[in-house]
């Protein structure tokens, strides 16, 4: 039976702005299914983004949506969540938005362990501005500002999130479409700051410069270069060379920020 996405989409906003073959639409569908699984109410859910292709996502969804400034989604969202902890807060955005200009807000949202879910669509490029390299562009790759090959090392976004203190970190891909909703749903249900990195494709500004002949080739590349974390346990270091792990990479229970602040309120009122 077809899934009823229309129930969660704002009327008359499609077709979306993303290019043919861009995986952001696949991720948006996964997010919608996850929201459906979790039974989140539209008026009690804020979806917050920064600037970039991926950050246009909230405009299509029929929730409280906040399309902020470049890199600032996590900080705006922190304000929303602090002021109204009863709201569900979901962040969406790209790799450049989240880990370059928004890097500071990102690591500190992880550190606080504030109960929000951040979906980072990592297509390894600044798409909206025409394909400049991002902190997630692999060394040696081509971008409009690295035509001689990228000299910069890339972030491992999931590791960055774990290192900064996020208590749920998962990675999926646009190829593994039927897992996206499951990872996001688990992230939403986790109490604390959860990060879901989705390895995504940008055929227009990344694929074309890096010798991918088609969208399908990019999708298959996502399949071939990733290994589920459980399968990886049985693989040798040689077999894992050049592979990126997918699935739930990290999970722990830790005090959640808005609950800790509720205790601050209790202490302040007791001392009054």
């Amino acid at each position: 039976m077809a899934f009823d996405y229309d129930k969660y989409l704002r009327p008359n906003k499609l077709p979306h702005i993303w290019c043919p073959g861009c995986g952001h639409g696949i991720v948006m569908k996964g997010l919608i299914r996850a929201i459906d699984t979790c039974g989140l109410k539209k008026e009690d859910t804020a979806i917050v983004s920064g600037i970039g292709c991926a950050s246009r996502l909230p405009g299509y969804l029929d929730f409280c949506t906040l399309h902020t400034a470049h890199g600032r989604a996590a900080a705006f969202a922190t304000g929303v969540k602090m002021a109204r902890p009863e709201m569900n807060v979901i962040l969406v955005g790209g790799d450049g938005d989240g880990t370059a200009i928004g890097g500071n807000h990102f690591i500190h949202a992880c550190r606080r362990n504030i109960n929000m879910t951040y979906i980072i669509m990592n297509n390894k490029i600044y798409g909206m501005t025409g394909g400049q390299f991002s902190p997630a562009t692999p060394t040696g790759d081509k971008a409009s500002t690295t035509v001689y090959g990228n000299p910069d090392p890339a972030f491992d976004i999931a590791k960055l999130a774990i290192g900064a203190g996020a208590t749920f970190v998962a990675r999926g891909t646009a190829f593994h479409a039927n897992q996206i909703d499951k990872l996001i749903a688990e992230a939403i249900q986790h109490k604390g700051f959860s990060v879901v990195e989705i390895l995504d494709d940008c055929p227009t500004t990344y694929g074309r410069r890096n010798k991918f002949k088609s969208v399908i080739e990019m999708m298959n590349h996502l399949k071939e270069t990733t290994v589920p974390v459980k399968a990886a346990e049985k693989m040798s270091p040689e077999q894992l060379k050049g592979k990126v792990l997918t699935g739930v990479l990290y999970k722990e229970e830790k005090p959640e920020y808005t609950e800790e602040y509720a205790k601050v309120i209790q202490r302040a009122q007791a001392a009054k």
Binding site: P15, P20, A177, V215
Partner: protein, 64 residues
């Protein structure tokens, strides 16, 4: 009624002709005609839903 054919609804104004559905369909049910997808062989459809799942553009709805 096990062999009842599914309905594959194509929303042409959403389709961007990216070929993802065509390529990931295991039974070659779909093709790109002009700039958008169309159904060329509905009888072959095994209702695996790969096209609907993977379509980035919300352009395909499969009702089994």
């Amino acid at each position: 009624m096990e062999n009842k054919l599914p309905t594959i609804e194509i929303i042409e104004k959403y389709c961007k002709g990216c070929y993802i559905c065509v390529e990931f369909c295991p039974k070659q049910v779909l093709e790109i005609k002009g700039f958008v997808v169309s159904v060329k062989n509905l009888e072959a459809c095994i209702k695996c839903m790969q096209c609907e799942l993977r379509c980035p553009d919300f352009a395909i709805k499969v009702t089994a």
